[in-house]
């Protein structure tokens, strides 16, 4: 049994109040669902004298659609993503990934912002959001800024936020009708494991030829990553079983799994699996793109 170290919990009700607390208090950390943070504190992975709870800040917990963009507040839980009509209709791939995070108890607490900020190489919502080409909005007392999601990840379990900054929102364009996206994940036991590998793919097609392709892997590099080389191989190609198989086999040499970072499976195994998972996700994405066009 490992005890939680002592800390003071602050529970602001507005974003501004939270930002003030984070900049004023030394040794402070935001806490959303706490499903990563409390475990890291128990393990002594880091120390925090002050925790600033984001759970009461209403403005951070919504999903909305406006002007062709979908906006997801950072404290939206995985359960909310799964239940959201907007996500089901416009970006089902994200709801699917969220539905595979932990068990129901975890999904009811854990947030998408926490999943991204925790920056685990295998974070399950990272890959679908990467292929949706998501932007993240970050706020501090100085104001707010936007950047591509990929720039939030700095290394295994390291994000690029400066002290006092908070992730407030994730946003992406509503995918067009000629597109399809899919996610798949390999884990040891459903309900309580991080992915050994996960993959997401997004395709736009005019029926036969690939117009736009975005693919991403989790747990195959120090951070979740887009694989631009595979995307280039896909663009302009006639999409079928054979071409997808060929392109997918290129993943073997393109991913950089490290056994040091991802001790749960060997490098060779992950390389093999990256080809299998890329093929599977691309086939499914293509199938969906075709169905969406009908």
């Amino acid at each position: 049994m490992k005890l939680l170290p002592s800390f003071t919990l602050h529970r602001p009700i507005s974003l501004n109040e939270a930002l003030k607390l984070l900049s004023k208090l030394e040794d402070s950390k935001p806490i959303a669902g706490g499903t990563d943070l409390l475990i890291d504190l128990k393990e002594g992975a880091y120390k925090a004298k002050h925790l600033v709870d984001l759970g009461l800040i209403r403005e951070l917990g919504n999903i909305r659609e406006a002007n062709g963009l979908i906006h997801i507040g950072s404290t939206t839980t995985h359960a909310q993503l799964v239940a959201s009509e907007i996500i089901k209709a416009k970006a089902p791939v994200l709801g699917e990934a969220a539905s595979l995070v932990g068990g129901v108890q975890i999904r009811n607490r854990a947030t998408v912002g926490g999943n991204l900020c925790n920056a685990s190489p295998g974070a399950d919502t990272a890959t679908p959001l990467l292929v949706l080409d998501a932007q993240v909005t970050v706020a501090s007392l100085e104001g707010s800024r936007s950047m591509p999601l990929s720039e939030l990840f700095a290394g295994p379990k390291r994000n690029s936020l400066a002290p006092g900054e908070l992730l407030t929102e994730i946003s992406f364009s509503v995918p067009p009708a000629c597109s399809g996206a899919s996610f798949s994940k390999l884990g040891r036991r459903r309900g309580c494991t991080l992915s050994l590998i996960n993959a997401a793919a997004y395709l736009e097609t005019n029926g036969a030829t690939c117009r736009e392709a975005r693919v991403a892997f989790g747990a195959c590099a120090p951070t979740p990553v887009r694989i631009k080389d595979v995307e280039e191989l896909l663009k302009g190609k006639k999409l079928d079983n054979q071409s997808i198989k060929e392109v997918s086999s290129a993943c073997y040499g393109l991913v950089q799994p490290s056994t040091r970072v991802h001790a749960r499976a060997s490098e060779e195994y992950r390389r093999e699996m990256s080809c299998v998972f890329m093929k599977r996700t691309l086939m499914e994405a293509l199938d969906r793109a075709r169905r969406n066009m009908q």
Binding site: L9, R11, T35, I39, V104, Q105, I106, C192
Partner: protein, 155 residues
């Protein structure tokens, strides 16, 4: 500091600390020992409670975070008709061996059937992914949940 919340239908107030898990507040400070302490890492589901009606692992909730909220354990559902059906089915189907996982399993199953009164076997399996049972092999637990659902629907 003090935390005030509704526990099994009653308003309670308890002195607590910021780093006290809800699990310890319930078991140690308030004597609700039906909530079991297993892994304390969110993985086993033995400590499941309903927080504002949805299942959460109480080992990963901090006591001050339940301020103003509703916490329900099996003790608060003794007379609840749906929970009664679930208990009966668990007993009759032999879905309980050592019983350590049972309170958490019952609460997760209860939340499932509240939301989805007629689940498929797959939906039941998916719902209890966060509850580990080391004894039964799950088969009889899944059967019991499906049987309970059937009995409620038959009424």
């Amino acid at each position: 500091m003090n935390v005030r919340f509704t526990l099994n239908g009653k308003d309670v107030e308890s002195e607590t600390r910021d780093n006290r898990p809800l699990l310890d507040l319930l078991r140690v400070d308030l004597g609700v020992t039906s909530v079991k302490k297993g892994c304390e890492y969110g993985e086993c589901g033995a400590c499941t409670v309903l927080l504002d009606e949805v299942p959460v692992t109480s080992c990963l909730v901090l006591a001050p975070q339940v301020e103003g909220k509703t916490v329900t354990t099996i003790d608060g559902l003794v007379d609840d008709p749906l929970m009664e059906k679930l208990r009966q089915a668990f007993l009759e189907d032999g879905a309980i061996q050592c019983g350590f996982c049972t309170p958490g399993m019952l609460l997760t199953a209860y939340a499932l059937l509240k939301e989805n009164p007629n689940p498929t076997e797959l939906e039941v399996k998916k719902a209890i992914e966060g509850n580990i049972c080391r004894c039964t092999g799950y088969v009889l637990i899944i059967k019991a949940i499906l049987d309970a659902a059937e009995r409620v629907l038959a009424e």
